[in-house]
């Protein structure tokens, strides 16, 4: 019921405000405010105080009630002001893997002479995550995104709110700024990586033996193969690190969708993702062959992203976006 109401109001606000194009600041006409549960309880307390004050004819109790009543109204203004004219600079989310939580980074700034406290953002029913925006400064907040299916995750609106100070009121605004997050397939599968290729130039045996040149350690990134994690270091208390090698022989691999007939479509995509992630982290060159699309052998983040994006959208029409 609450969810339904919220969606309806958000939809109404969208019709009213239209789509947002960052950077923009929150105008007073788009900031809504309502008392919180605590605010309601506080109001009930004030009513009780007023009745008691009237009943006893106590001037002190009456004044106290009026003072706290005024305090509540001031709090409403302060809460509203805390969100007013905050600049919504940008919101972006790096591609994420299916089944794993993602992260959305929202950047705020303020050109006013006072700091903003507890500016909170929620997306797709995530909990509110807050940040403080310094006076004439900038800050960002990382909103967790729920695990999702392969394809594209569409964030159609953001809920930006604040209950500062006193948590008696919550002022909020909806940001209608559709963000499409690419959701790569889940890296999964245990088939050995195809290593032969037409014009191979390095000795194959060396790669299999893992005799690539040791390059060093780097922090674990989403999608790295567990086989490359420096488990020994981890056991000693170090953070998750990944061993990096450079392929000596500039190994060239071809990952072909049609070469995996024994798997269903999703499993094939997951296996291909696994290989791409592994190959990329080892610095190998690889090519991807999908039905109707081919990515020439290459390496690097751009190539990896292109390949994985192709896997993400494989077989999905634009309309069937995962929501």
């Amino acid at each position: 019921m609450k969810e339904f109401l919220r969606n309806r109001i958000a939809a109404w606000a969208r019709r009213r405000q239209g789509l947002d194009v960052p950077p923009f600041s929150f105008h007073r006409r788009r900031i809504y405010i309502l008392p919180t549960g605590l605010g309601m309880a506080f109001t009930v307390m004030l009513v009780v105080m007023l009745i008691a004050g009237i009943n006893y004819g106590s001037s002190a109790a009456m004044f106290l009630t009026f003072l706290l009543g005024g305090f509540t109204l001031v709090c409403m203004h302060q809460c509203h002001r805390n969100l007013l004219r905050v600049f919504f600079v940008s919101a972006s989310a790096p591609p994420m893997f299916a089944g794993k939580p993602g992260v959305l980074r929202v950047v705020f700034s303020s050109d006013t002479s006072f700091a903003r406290y507890g500016i909170e953002v929620a997306a797709l029913k995530s909990p509110n995550v807050g940040t403080d925006v310094p006076a004439r400064g900038q800050s960002h907040v990382d909103v967790p995104l729920p695990p999702s299916k392969r394809g594209t995750l569409l964030i159609d609106r953001l809920y930006v709110s604040t209950s500062f100070p006193y948590n008696l009121f919550r002022a909020w605004t909806w940001v209608h700024f559709p963000i499409e997050v690419t959701v790569y397939p889940r890296p999964h599968g245990s088939l050995p990586m195809p290593s032969e290729s037409g014009e191979k130039s390095g000795p194959r045996s060396m790669t299999i033996a893992g005799s690539d040149e040791w390059q060093g350690l780097r922090p674990f990134r989403e999608g790295d193969s567990p086989r490359q994690v420096a488990w020994k270091a981890y056991a000693r208390g170090a953070p998750l690190l990944v061993k990096e090698y450079t392929a000596l022989g500039a190994e060239l691999r071809v990952f072909d969708y049609s070469q995996l007939p024994q798997l269903d479509i999703e499993s094939r995509l997951e296996q291909l993702t696994r290989w791409i992630v592994d190959a990329e982290s080892r610095g190998e060159r690889y090519a991807l062959v999908l039905p109707g699309r081919t990515f020439e052998a290459d390496s690097g983040p751009q190539h990896r992203h292109e390949c994985l994006s192709a896997l993400a959208s494989h077989g999905l029409t634009k309309d069937a976006d995962a929501r």
Binding site: F63, Q78, T112, Y117
Partner: protein, 660 residues
């Protein structure tokens, strides 16, 4: 400050502070065990945070909670009423502190603290306490800010400043609401009030049992007269009237002893308003013979002209009354009254009775007899003192024949005994006499130390007549304050106040302020409100006018607050130097030499020199000033602001002529 698990303790500390402050507001009226247990729970909670002390299990907590409720019930015989409710709040609020782990829990404790504040407001509202109440409200609001801040990076002092600002902005609204919110006459219900302290006069008087009279300078009541007040020696403030004597102790008559008969008032009536401090007693004090009850629903005028209220006076009350200082009652005294007021205990004070009989026999009339007895007190070697010796059970005999030292109670008791023994109806009247004239606000302040006892005697053809035997023994007692009569009276601080004029003056001012507070703030009611509206120019104000005033004030406040709060939300001031430079360039452009966007100020100056030599000097100075201010670093930050302003002025007065 951080607890043993590294979490910030600030929310807990502030919440506890709010609660402890709430308890402190009531500390003098709470049963000791409630404050002690509250301290225990607070201490326990902090012990568990700082050391490895375990908190009680939830089972134990339920048990303790029930035990506490029962204890409050046993103590007060009720859970209803202000005193019991306060104790319950203290006990439950502090128990809740044992399990405050979330923001919600802490908010509940802060709520309990605010309710303690409410109870304090309902209980007592003197000016000094009002200051404490404001501080407490601020502590509670700060606690709320700290406890709800979550991960927000606002500091504790920041939260304290914030809540001070929020409350400060709320004050104007509170004032508007306070002045114009229509007051209801009478309450909806009354709660039993218990636990109020009792001060002032008591229902009985045993002069022989007191060896030192209390010298409390506490105010008992204040009186504003309409018109000229009566002379000082007429200021007898009537309280309990005592009829029954057992030879040692005087008591009130049980019930209505006899019927009050109409009297003729002599002389001018005095109209006045009394503001009575809470005493826990039921007497409303009035000047001598009051014409009628100030408020028939609340207070009754008895047969012996006492004002006895239905409820004890637990809050400051004020009432208006009309009194006369002299009356006449024709006809004989009713038989019952004569019997009641000539009764003496059998076989007690026999020497005094003997003396009285012989004196009465020697006098030709009752009037003569009264004068003789008063004369005896004047000339018989009696001494007025506040530290009389204790008396034996035949207290009057002991006083008249042995000690001859005493204060008003001794004289009144002895005088009335003598009257009764001589067959003249007489009664003891207790109350206050005199008062300190406050010249700042023109009123009499009657203190507890002005307590007095005198006598009333029935004289044929005159009715009840007032006589003050103390005045015979110590005539100055009537015209001067007690303090000036007996130099050693009163504490050292009292004497100090008396002897230093400016200190005395300061005390008068302070009391005038308290009087103003009681009259204007504590007793603010519908009537005062309507008076205020008349003062504001409304012909015949009613609650609707109040409503208009209230709404107008509310709207005005909302506008001001909205403006005040949102003021900071406007964009930060632009770079004034840049703005002035823009203006300068615009002026030069109008004069025919626009600056290309890529041209810097120095190059621009060169261009001007080449194209418009007539402007070169003025423009050159301005541009080099700008260059200095913008890029130079030899000017200090403080001087810079002034220099920028000077530059602005220079640009404003710079008027380049157009190209020919």
């Amino acid at each position: 400050m951080r607890g043993k698990d590294g979490e910030s303790l600030a929310p807990l500390i502030w919440t506890s502070t709010a609660l402890v402050c709430g308890v402190l507001l009531h500390i003098d009226r709470l049963p000791l065990w409630t404050s002690a247990t509250a301290a225990l729970w607070v201490g326990w909670r902090f012990a568990s945070e700082l050391r490895s002390v375990r908190l009680p299990s939830s089972f134990a907590k339920v048990g303790v909670t029930l035990a506490m409720i029962v204890a409050v019930l046993v103590q007060f015989r009720t859970l209803n009423g202000l005193a019991a409710g306060t104790a319950l709040l203290v006990v439950m609020g502090s128990l809740k502190l044992l399990e405050t782990h979330s923001m919600r829990d802490r908010s509940i404790v802060i709520g309990a603290s605010l309710f303690l504040l409410l109870a304090a407001c309902l209980d007592r509202q003197s000016m000094l306490r009002a200051g404490l109440y404001l501080i407490h409200a601020w502590v509670c609001c700060t606690a709320l800010a700290v406890t709800t801040r979550g991960r927000v990076a606002i500091t504790n002092s920041g939260a304290a400043k914030l809540s001070a600002r929020s409350l400060g902005l709320a004050v104007p609204l509170a004032l508007v609401m306070f002045l114009f919110f229509p007051r209801v006459v009478g309450g909806f219900w009354t709660l039993p009030q218990t636990g109020a302290a009792t001060t002032g006069l008591s229902e009985t008087m045993s002069p022989g049992s007191i060896s030192e009279l209390g010298e409390s300078g506490e105010p008992a009541f204040r009186v504003h007269f309409e018109g000229t007040p009566p002379p000082r020696e007429q200021l007898y403030w009537r309280g309990p009237v005592l009829h029954d004597f057992d030879g040692y102790t005087w008591r009130q008559a049980p019930g209505q002893a006899y019927v009050k008969r109409p009297v003729t008032y002599i002389g001018q009536p005095y109209r006045y308003r009394v503001t009575l401090e809470p005493s826990g007693n039921r007497w409303w004090f009035a000047l001598d013979t009051v014409v009628q009850s100030p408020d028939r629903r609340k207070v009754q005028l008895t047969f012996d002209n006492q004002l006895v209220a239905r409820d004890p006076v637990n809050t400051t009350i004020s009432y208006e009354a009309v009194s006369h200082t002299e009356t006449r009652e024709e006809g004989p005294i009713p038989v019952v009254a004569r019997r009641v007021d000539t009764r003496l205990p059998e076989g007690r004070n026999s020497r005094s009775v003997e003396l009285a009989r012989s004196m009465r026999a020697a006098a030709e009339s009752d009037e003569r007899y009264v004068a003789d007895v008063l004369n005896m007190f004047r000339t018989g070697g009696f001494e007025y003192t506040l530290t009389p010796p204790l008396l034996d059970l035949d207290s009057v005999d002991d006083f008249i024949f042995n000690t001859r030292k005493g204060f008003c109670g001794h004289y009144a008791s002895a005088f009335v005994t003598m009257m009764r023994a001589g067959g003249v109806p007489a009664r003891v009247v207790t109350g206050y006499h005199g008062g300190e004239w406050n010249r700042i606000r023109q009123y009499f302040l009657v203190r507890q130390s002005d307590a007095h006892a005198w006598a009333e005697v029935w004289l044929e053809g005159r009715g009840w007549a007032r006589f003050d035997p103390t005045a015979s023994a110590a005539p100055q007692r009537l015209t001067n304050a007690l303090a000036s009569l007996i130099p050693e009276a009163g504490s050292a601080s009292e004497r100090l106040l008396r002897d230093i004029p400016w200190l005395f003056d300061l005390r008068q001012r302070w009391d005038a302020l308290n009087d103003w507070w009681n009259e204007r703030v504590v007793k603010f009611n519908l009537e005062t409100q309507l008076d205020l509206m008349r003062l504001l120019g409304f012909e015949s104000p009613d609650w609707r006018v109040l409503g208009y005033a209230l709404s107008a004030g509310l709207v005005l406040w909302m506008l001001i607050i909205g403006w005040q709060v949102a003021r900071g939300a406007r964009p930060a001031p632009v770079d004034r130097l840049a703005a002035a430079y823009q203006k300068l360039c615009a002026k030069l452009a109008r004069a025919g030499i626009p600056r290309e966007p890529h041209v810097g100020p120095q190059a621009y100056a060169t261009t001007i020199r080449a194209e418009r030599p007539d402007l070169a000097t003025d423009a050159g100075v301005l541009l080099s000033t700008y260059t200095q201010l913008r890029f130079g670093n030899e000017i200090s930050e403080a001087d810079r602001a002034e220099a920028v302003r000077a530059f602005e002025r220079a640009v404003r007065s710079f008027r380049p002529s157009r190209a020919k």
